[in-house]
């Protein structure tokens, strides 16, 4: 007989409550008080920082404050996201024994691959994209991150049902072109949502059914509906007291100057390549980058894949990472080469050296 995991739907909540539930459910799983669980959740409009991020560096705070967008800090890793009622959150709370695998990247891949199958069942060609995304034809539809405590794991993802790309560009400090129709169009080339892909927003209950079925098949388990236990409720209230506070949101405070947005453009014989880079100067890491310009590349998704490959990567390994990326693919670039992409990124990073 298959194991039974619990399924929870905690509905639409404030960000602080959702994050406090993350901690409560992870602690309860670690303490052996709760079964492995699939939880669905939704957020009132929120900008959610990764655990180690600083609001000053990642968000346009004036806009968030003016629009009443709540700022919160996740307990999981990864980058800042804009989360509102038009997205569905999915989370797994597991014990390591559910996975029989210790490698954290392999665990991410297994869970994301299962979630992608659930999204496929809705009628879109969703695929896992290393390291932690689910994409449809090169456009991201679900991002993810995780946290662990001892033998308990929390892995969570977003699924874009409908999505306001313009608002995302205004909330997050991301290396898009300055806000314009072109920037919005450029963002739409990188981000997908189910309503656009299917012609209409799918029924939320149907999305949950398909994700649930995909996780059940992937882990060979059954689901049974459940509620928070009294122990979890008590843990939730304790966690909420800490998380629903300015101290928690401002846990990491770093100056914006340590994470500049840098840009460069180079006119090669085969075309103009531009890049904007959100650069973590303290850790010498490329957090995120966006290419634009005027050049030919086929398949078109190559650029989105290169951006995903270089997200949160060591700047000192840039040339190696770019060379490896292109060596693994068959790409038609009409005269451009891997070195050109490295060169334009290096030119952007050099701006930082100049500025300092």
């Amino acid at each position: 007989m298959n194991k039974t995991w619990r399924i929870l739907d905690t509905g639409l909540r404030r960000a602080a409550e959702n994050i406090a539930l993350n901690r409560a459910l992870l602690e309860a799983r670690q303490a052996g008080e709760a079964p492995s669980t699939l939880r669905f959740l939704r957020f009132m409009p929120s900008a959610l920082l990764g655990f180690h991020q600083s609001a000053e560096q990642e968000l346009n705070l004036d806009y968030c404050h003016a629009q009443g967008i709540t700022i919160q800090r996740r307990i999981t890793g990864g980058g800042a996201i804009f989360f509102d009622e038009t997205q569905l959150g999915w989370e797994l709370y597991l014990h390591r024994s559910d996975l029989a695998c210790a490698d954290m990247q392999a665990i991410s891949q297994r869970i994301c691959t299962a979630a992608a199958r659930g999204i496929q069942a809705l009628g879109v060609d969703a695929q896992y994209r290393p390291r932690n995304d689910i994409e449809v034809d090169g456009r991201k539809i679900s991002g993810s991150g995780g946290a662990f405590d001892g033998d308990a794991l929390l892995f969570q993802g977003t699924l874009l049902i409908q999505f306001d790309v313009e608002k995302m560009l205004r909330v997050l400090r991301i290396p898009a072109e300055k806000l314009s129709d072109k920037a919005i169009a450029s963002a739409r080339e990188r981000v997908a949502n189910l309503a656009d892909l299917l012609g209409a927003a799918p029924d939320l209950a149907e999305v949950q059914v398909q994700l649930q079925a995909a996780f059940a098949a992937a882990f060979n388990i059954e689901f049974a509906a459940g509620d928070l236990s009294e122990q979890e409720q008590a843990r939730f209230e304790t966690a909420l007291a800490e998380i629903d506070s300015a101290d928690w949101v401002n846990l990491m405070q770093r100056p914006r100057a340590d994470k500049p947005l840098l840009e460069a453009a180079i006119k090669f014989p085969a075309g103009l390549v531009q890049v904007r880079v959100h650069y973590d100067a303290v850790r010498a890491r490329i957090q995120q980058l966006w290419f634009s310009g005027d050049y030919f590349i086929s398949p078109r998704r190559t650029i989105a894949d290169l951006e995903a490959c270089l997200r949160d990567s060591d700047a000192r390994r840039l040339r190696q990472n770019v060379a490896t990326f292109f060596a693994e693919r068959n790409v038609d670039m009409l005269g451009l080469c891997a070195e050109n992409f490295s060169a334009v990124i290096e030119a952007a990073l050099a701006q930082q050296v100049t500025a300092s």
Partner: protein, 145 residues
């Protein structure tokens, strides 16, 4: 030096096996704490580390530092109870140092233990290390460093 599935585990250190951390007793009675090579291999390249504040009293198995790798966030836990008295700032600023040299320049924190003589009994050292970590790696489904 024990080497288990390719992971180095110096046999003069004390290990809290469940937490996958090591402790080294210093001549002044303090202990140095770090991640094992096995823990580093599980995590992959670390990209961020945030320690608890110096001066904090910490119980055994409580978090002394939170680290992130590949979008996963997890704790480094205290192998014994005591007061956090020093943080290895170079490793916090550049967490890849922990991956590169987990038993040397990548140490994480120094603790002034309050019950070392009692709690050291819950740690593993010397000839026991290889068998205990082999069993843990087996349970975890770990392929090797």
């Amino acid at each position: 030096m024990a080497i288990v599935r390719g992971c180095q585990l110096p046999d003069d250190l004390f290990y809290h096996v469940d937490s996958n951390v090591w402790a080294r007793l210093e001549s002044d009675g303090s202990i140095i704490v770090g991640m094992t090579a096995y823990a580093c291999s599980l995590a992959g390249q670390l990209v961020a580390a945030t320690p608890k504040k110096i001066g904090k009293e910490i119980e055994q198995k409580q978090t002394i530092c939170t680290v992130e790798s590949g979008k996963w966030v997890g704790p480094i836990k205290a192998p014994v109870s005591g007061q956090l008295i020093e943080i290895n700032e170079p490793a916090i600023d550049k967490p890849t140092l922990i991956n590169e040299d987990p038993y040397g320049r990548g140490w994480v924190a120094k603790i002034q233990p309050k019950r070392w003589d009692v709690e050291k009994a819950s740690l593993v050292t010397g000839a026991e290390i290889a068998a205990v970590f082999e069993a843990k790696m087996n349970t975890d489904g770990f392929g090797g460093c």
